[in-house]
């Protein structure tokens, strides 16, 4: 029996507005508890919400990027439930008439094929506060700074068939929102959070199985792991003759397992109804078209352009366009050096490796794209070899300055001077008479391999700085003279 996993994602994205969706309190991350919770956010009696126009502009940008119909009339509703991080006792959200209607986006799969993932809808809503579970006189502490931060909830159709596809889709959404600049997309700070609806069925079966919702998964890696482990759990139950109970589950990263969230299982009846404190938001075509005209270049368009303009493979272009900062870094390096392929390599291999190893974000990289281009130019013009370039790059990562100053300071300039090289060659020939004798007596087919020994010795003697091409020429000439 072959099983198939069916996945739909609900992604919550915090919008990068300055103030909250219904109040003038700041949304800045990391402030002292409750210092950014104003009377409205605290649901003080008599306070009233007024909607933030920037939240709507951001939501429309997202809808346009997803090729969605924009809700020209959208309505806020109240979702009623009691929880200490929800001061009003209801969440203001959208249900029947959301700001963004159905849409679609494509994801690139590892085998080079594409899959279309349909968007069911996306709606605006307010975030809740946070419960802190450290011990405060035996109680929990409530911080409402986050309460009222604008969110868009992005709800996909169940169109993904593996954990890898789910991650590819999540990364695609991440790249769209960061390209648009409507969110910082920081999963570690909760700016982007993901719930996954997971079910399994036999391949070829059309009917969907009972699904479980895994709540609040907070990294790409955990999304993949959580879906995998949940699918395995469901398959095991069914294969043992059991049934899947539709429920909400929590992913425990330490144990790599999902477990039932019984506290959320108390039969909830959210009693949605239109919020009487807020009126329908009406957007006209002019407004929407103005936003459409000012949209930045999106990942798909950039990918295609990188392929045609810089002659990159579509895989490389996809890697480089995953996020806007990387794409911009590459493009600057490519333009300044006029060597797009070298630039692509350096960004994808060396730079990515360094960032990964040192756990640094590209934004905090100690050198600029222009400085990387400077390094590439020095390889191209023969000042340094590719091997030496790695040393220079290390220096740049250590913050030692640009390529030229590191080459200068460390004396790494390639030796191409014929006189100096001849001396090196002569020394090596003089010091290795036996090898020279072997070379001279060998037939032509064996000679190139034997040449490598001499080159190696010369490079070693020059500490890698000898120009390998020039060395080759001189060496051949000298050996032939023997």
């Amino acid at each position: 029996m072959e099983w198939e996993t069916v996945i739909g994602l609900e992604i919550h994205v915090q919008l990068a507005t300055k103030s909250k969706i219904f109040s003038g309190a700041s949304t800045a991350f990391g402030a002292a508890a409750n210092t950014q919770a104003c009377a409205i956010d605290l649901a003080m009696p008599g306070t009233l919400p007024v909607a933030n126009e920037e939240a709507f502009r951001f939501a429309v940008m997202f809808g346009l990027a997803m090729n969605s119909e924009i809700g020209k009339r959208s309505v806020f509703e109240r979702k009623n439930y009691f929880y200490p991080d929800l001061p009003k006792g209801y969440q203001t959200t959208q249900l029947e008439e959301p700001i963004v209607g159905p849409g679609v986006t494509n994801i690139e799969l590892a085998d080079g094929s594409q899959r279309a993932v349909r968007l069911h809808h996306a709606h605006l809503e307010e975030d809740a506060g946070k419960s802190l579970h450290e011990d405060y006189q035996g109680m929990s502490g409530i911080d409402l700074n986050r309460a009222g931060t604008p969110l868009i909830e992005i709800v996909s159709e169940p169109d993904m068939r593996s954990a890898e596809e789910a991650v590819a889709y999540l990364k695609k959404i991440h790249s769209i929102i960061t390209y648009l600049g409507i969110s910082d997309g920081e999963m570690s700070q909760g700016s982007m959070r993901c719930d996954a609806n997971v079910s399994v069925r036999l391949k070829g079966e059309e009917k969907l199985g009972n699904r479980c919702e895994i709540k609040n998964i907070n990294s790409f890696k955990f999304v993949e792991k959580a879906i995998k482990v949940e699918a395995e759990r469901q398959i095991e139950i069914i294969e043992d003759g059991g049934k899947i109970a539709q429920e909400t589950r929590l992913y425990d990263a330490d144990k790599n397992e999902t477990r039932s969230m019984r506290s959320k299982e108390v039969a909830n009846d959210y009693r949605y109804f239109p919020c009487p404190d807020l009126l329908p938001v009406i957007l006209d075509d002019d407004y929407i078209e103005t936003i459409r005209r000012t949209l930045p270049e999106l990942p798909d368009a950039k990918l295609n352009r990188f392929v045609s303009e810089y002659d990159l493979s579509s895989y490389d272009a996809a890697v480089l366009t995953t996020d806007r900062v990387t794409a911009d870094f590459f493009e600057t390096a490519a333009k300044v050096s006029n060597e797009p392929k070298l630039a692509a390599n350096w960004v994808m291999v060396d730079l990515a490796g360094y960032l990964n190893k040192s756990d640094t974000k590209l934004g905090e990289c100690p050198f600029t794209a222009e400085q990387l281009a400077g390094l590439i130019v020095r390889i191209k013009d023969g000042t340094i070899s590719g091997k030496i370039a790695k040393q220079v790059f290390e220096g740049m990562c250590n913050g030692e300055g640009d390529a030229d100053s590191i080459i200068e300071a460390r004396g790494l300039k390639q030796v191409s001077d014929t006189g100096a090289l001849e001396k090196l060659v002569n020394d090596v020939i003089a010091n290795n008479p036996a090898q020279v004798q072997n070379y001279v007596s060998a037939d032509d087919s064996k000679r190139p391999k034997m040449l490598g020994f001499f080159v190696g010795q010369i490079m070693k003697a020059s500490k890698g700085q000898a120009n390998p091409q020039a060395v080759n020429e001189i060496l051949l000439k000298k050996l032939n003279e023997q």
Binding site: A39, L42, A43, M44, P45, G46, T47, L48, P49, V50, A51, R78, N80, F82, P84, P87, K88, G89, Y90, I142, D269, R271, Y272, F273, P276, D277, L278, L279
Partner: protein, 484 residues
């Protein structure tokens, strides 16, 4: 001095016949001496009142022209007042001190009016008799065995007992007009959105509207001139040009068409109330107005629709009272559910609980369409009745309340009978129209109210029509016994 209207007091202040401090002290003394009979105030604020009066006297001396400058008024305890308790008539908010002023409180402060204190009310404005207040019932100055009406019963009793020349109030289904009728006052509920709701504790957000209780239409015009404003803190407040409501008070009624809805004179209306209203119609005809019979066919559905919509909205509006950030919190909660349940059960009275439960029911899965959605559809039919009627008439006239003030306890065991008190006033809240009640006679020495309903934003017309009646009659000048 306390028998004078606001308009007369404004003249007295300007002619230096009296200072605001003297006037304020006079009313404070009356409250101290007499309010134990009526229980119309929850909180009296003598220090604040006198400080504001002193500031008003300085402004008057400097030539301030604002008519309310130096006039003492009372605020219904539903309006948030910075540094002064705002209880909303509930144990839940017995210790609540808002860190902000309601916009209307701010408007009166800017106009130089003086706050005497905060008036009693039905808990969270839910009631038609002022018997649901945590601070005890308010007594009707006309007959202290009877209710003053509700929910703005404290404001009405305070003005009728001449403890304040005017008071603010709020009206969700008749809470200004019904107490005005039962206490012999002029009460106006403006068009929904004419007055800011910021800082007015919400009962049912799509129905709540602030207004005033005074002893004349002229005073109501003066009070409303200050109360009405555009406020960008309230999304439902309408950006409509402000009018001077005193400017049109003296317009002639010749050519005015008054519609008399036949449904407002059906069974359930006290015959003597009907008589008084019929007599008022004759008065209007003598003033040059034409009257014609009209039909508002969905009138009988107003109370049913209201008792779905208002509880549904209140069930959500009152969820914020959870014992976490402010308000009543039970002792030693053993877990979260216990905290919620005991804090809310101890903090809310029976009527509030009943409405929360009804509203929860109307919104719950399986009932939403049959109740909430249906009620909102019927609401549109009710509004359409008025829209159609106003194609042919300028104002609509009828009784405010089916009968005069009733005795304490006579309806407390029968919520439906209590709800029917508002049978003539509720439709205007559902439609968002302005409505006004003025006294038009006495039955058993208790006042009868005449209701006038205007088209959207026609407050000026309503006050004009009321003022002309008051120029021709003296019902509004009759004072409750033992007040003078």
């Amino acid at each position: 001095m306390h028998t004078k209207t606001i308009a007369q007091l404004a003249d007295a202040l300007r002619s230096k016949e009296i200072t605001s401090v003297e006037l304020t002290q006079h009313f404070l003394d009356r409250i101290a001496a007499l309010d134990s009979h009526y229980n119309s105030f929850i909180t009296v604020t003598p220090d604040i009142a006198l400080a504001q009066a002193r500031a008003a006297d300085e402004r008057l001396a400097a030539g301030d022209t604002s008519p309310l400058c130096g006039i003492p008024i009372a605020h219904k305890d539903i309006f948030c007042t910075q540094d002064v308790r705002t209880s909303c008539g509930s144990k839940m908010l017995d210790t609540f001190i808002a860190p902000y002023n309601a916009t209307i409180v701010e408007n009166y402060l800017k106009a130089g009016a003086v706050m005497l204190g905060k008036t009693n009310m039905d808990e969270f404005a839910m009631g038609s008799s002022n018997e649901t207040s945590y601070y005890g019932p308010v007594k009707n100055p006309w007959n202290t065995n009877c209710v003053p009406g509700g929910s703005s019963g404290g404001s009405a009793a305070a003005v009728a007992a001449l403890l304040a020349p005017g008071a603010t109030a709020s009206d969700t289904g008749g809470s200004i007009r019904q107490p005005a009728a039962l206490c012999g006052l002029t009460g106006i509920k403006p068009t929904y959105g004419r007055v800011s709701r910021w800082g007015m504790i919400a009962f049912a957000s799509s129905l709540d509207q602030a207004g005033t209780l005074t002893r004349s239409a002229e005073d109501a015009a003066l009070m409303l001139n200050v109360m009405a404003s555009f406020d960008d803190k309230d999304s439902t407040c309408v950006d409509q040009p402000l009018e001077d409501y005193t400017a049109t008070l003296n317009d002639s009624l010749t050519g005015l068409t008054i519609g008399i809805p036949e449904e407002y004179f059906s069974e359930g209306l006290h015959p003597d109330t009907a008589k008084a209203v019929q007599a008022a119609i004759k008065t209007y005809e003598s003033l040059g107005a034409k009257t014609r019979s009209i039909s508002l066919p969905h009138t009988h559905l107003a109370v049913p629709a209201y008792y779905v919509i208002a509880p549904a909205e209140c069930s959500a509006n009152l969820s914020r009272f959870d014992g976490v950030r402010y308000g009543h919190r039970c002792d030693a909660p053993k877990d979260l559910t216990d905290l919620y349940k005991r804090s809310r059960s101890e903090g809310f009275g029976d009527e509030v609980k009943r409405r929360i439960l009804v509203g929860t029911y109307a919104l719950s899965a399986g009932y939403y369409d049959a109740y909430y959605n249906k009620a909102q559809q019927v609401r549109r039919l009710i509004k359409q009745d008025f829209v159609d009627a106003f194609k042919d008439v300028d104002v609509i006239l009828g009784p405010t309340s089916p009968s005069p003030a009733f005795e304490f306890g006579s309806k407390t065991q029968d919520p439906v009978a209590m709800y029917l008190e508002d049978i003539y006033t509720i439709a205007t809240n559902l439609a968002g129209l302005p409505g006004l009640s003025i006294p038009c006679g006495l039955v058993d020495n208790k006042p009868v109210g005449l209701q006038l309903i205007g088209n959207y934003f026609a407050e000026g017309k309503l006050l004009n029509v009321a003022h002309q009646f008051q120029l021709a009659t003296d019902f509004h000048q009759q004072l409750a016994p033992a007040t003078a």
